[in-house]
Amino acid sequence: MLIKKAPDIASSEITPERLYVRRREFLRAAGIGVAAVATGVVGGRRPAEAGQTGQDLAITTKMVTTGDEKVTPFDDITTYNNYYEFGTGKDDPARNAGNFKPKPWSVKVGGECAKPGEYTLEDILRPHPIEERVYRMRCVEAWSMVIPWAGFPLGDLLKRFEPNGNAKFVEFETVMRPAEMPGQRRQILPWPYREGLRMDEAMHPLAIMAVGLYGKTLPNQNGAPMRLIVPWKYGFKGVKSIVTINFVREQPLNTWQQMDSNEYGFYSNVNPSVDHPRWSQASERRIGEFFKRPTQMFNGYADQVASLYDGMDLRRNF
């Protein structure tokens, strides 16, 4: 099994797509098939945590981007959540997501693409080998975690729908199910939750569609059955329980920007020098730690993503 660490991966290796494709060819040539490598191999490095009820995922490769930073325990990742569809308390999603049914699931794809339509979860997942990606997650509220996601590159999925030249942005929506999601019975946010990315951000190798956590399928409170992870942006960009994917010409209005455009923008790149109007973003509390950490530009992924924003005023485009 191939394990890559972030320092080994220079941006020149990650960013250009043709080189990325070549890495996949290498993997195939090396005989590591896209078929399952038993989770047991990965599980041996990190024992499955008590209380995990998800199904095992077949992890093929593992990317650790966080060096020797301690991985956040499963309990913390699954009981401290911002998922307002289930309530606004940090413990509400774990408490209230029990009735949510992530299966059967389908995603409606539309907009500027050649292959729109309704895709079942199985259709979505079938061609993509699952990778483990250990990423930092930085919430806009100035706390953070290190999370071992299981997923696959978002770009690989989006390519299958063949977006055309008019597709400048891609927008996503969360499911609307007030019967199973008590928070949606009030207008806490203008449901359904919407988020979006510029196409080059969406195609970046670091952006993934996550379907699991700690080697098993996502708990409901973490965005089952599939959610976005864009690790160089604030966590609210990681739209959960996705049912809609649209390729659009104009920058979509993401929900938090709609709520308060003074405080939440579209790009939402992690940036210690651009404060939230009500609190500083210069430091963060890593869950589990007492002392605060200085926040890193692009959440520590500057090498890999800074070039996406060359020439942009990141204070105006926050």
Binding site: Y80, L189, A282, P294
Partner: protein
């Protein structure tokens, strides 16, 4: 059981005292045993803030309850309850200063920026100046401070009953600033601050109504102020 002065002093007040310590004991025990969830410092900050507002509400409810129930002895508990509001407010403030501001400063401070204390003080001043919700939170604390300092019978005598009464109207400032502080810090869900706003609104309306109903008669020393002060705080 006859509700004598001694029963109040030696049984009821100690009970209320111990009960009022409940929240801080719960938070301290929880922090020590790792039972405050993934972000204990956030729990402590929000918990102490919550109980500041609750004790403010409880102490402001004393007089309305007295009027409605006729149980005048309730007034004997008001000072203790008000001081507990100040206690939790101080815990909340100290938590913010030490576990938020100070830890922030030592995380991001550049060595060439002068002393640590200087950076710490600058960080607080900046927050109070630039973040409106911190400004009103700080104002709420400042409003409570003179009330805590002048809470004894000695101060009532020193200031005179009427002046003491006027000073202690700052409790309304503290309550309003506290609710606004809470309201301005939530991101989307204003339900909890709204509940406090309604509670304080009701309590304030009651007090205003009482004050207005006394208007026609000239306010004699034996009005509410006098009656309260006649009870030697025990």
């Amino acid at each position: 059981m006859v509700l004598t002065r001694n029963t109040i002093r030696w049984v009821l007040k100690p009970l209320v005292f111990l009960a009022s310590l409940g929240p801080v004991v719960y938070l301290a025990w929880g922090a020590f045993t790792g039972n405050l969830g993934a972000n204990p410092i956030s729990e402590i900050t929000f918990g102490t803030g919550d109980w500041t507002l609750r004790f403010l509400a409880i102490s402001l409810a004393v007089t309305p309850l007295r009027k409605l129930s006729g149980w005048n002895d309730l007034i004997r508990f008001r000072r203790m309850l008000g001081l507990f509001a100040f206690f939790y407010g101080t815990l909340h403030f100290v938590t913010y200063l030490s576990l938020d501001r100070f830890l922030d400063v030592i995380a991001v401070r550049q060595p060439d920026q002068g002393s640590l204390i200087g950076a710490f003080l600058r960080s607080i001043v900046q927050d109070v100046w630039m973040r409106p919700f911190i400004t009103v939170g700080f104002a709420a604390f400042l409003a409570m401070l003179p009330l805590a300092l002048t809470s004894t019978a000695g101060w009532i005598r020193r200031l005179g009953g009427r002046n003491w009464q006027r000073l202690h109207r700052l409790v309304y400032v503290a309550a309003v600033c506290g609710v606004v502080h809470f309201w301005w810090l939530v991101k989307a869900d204003v339900r909890e601050p709204l509940i406090y706003a309604v509670i304080f609104g009701v309590l304030l309306t009651f007090r205003i109504a009482v004050a207005f109903s006394r208007r026609p008669a000239r306010r004699a020393p034996s009005s509410a102020a006098g009656t309260d002060l006649a009870q030697r705080p025990s």
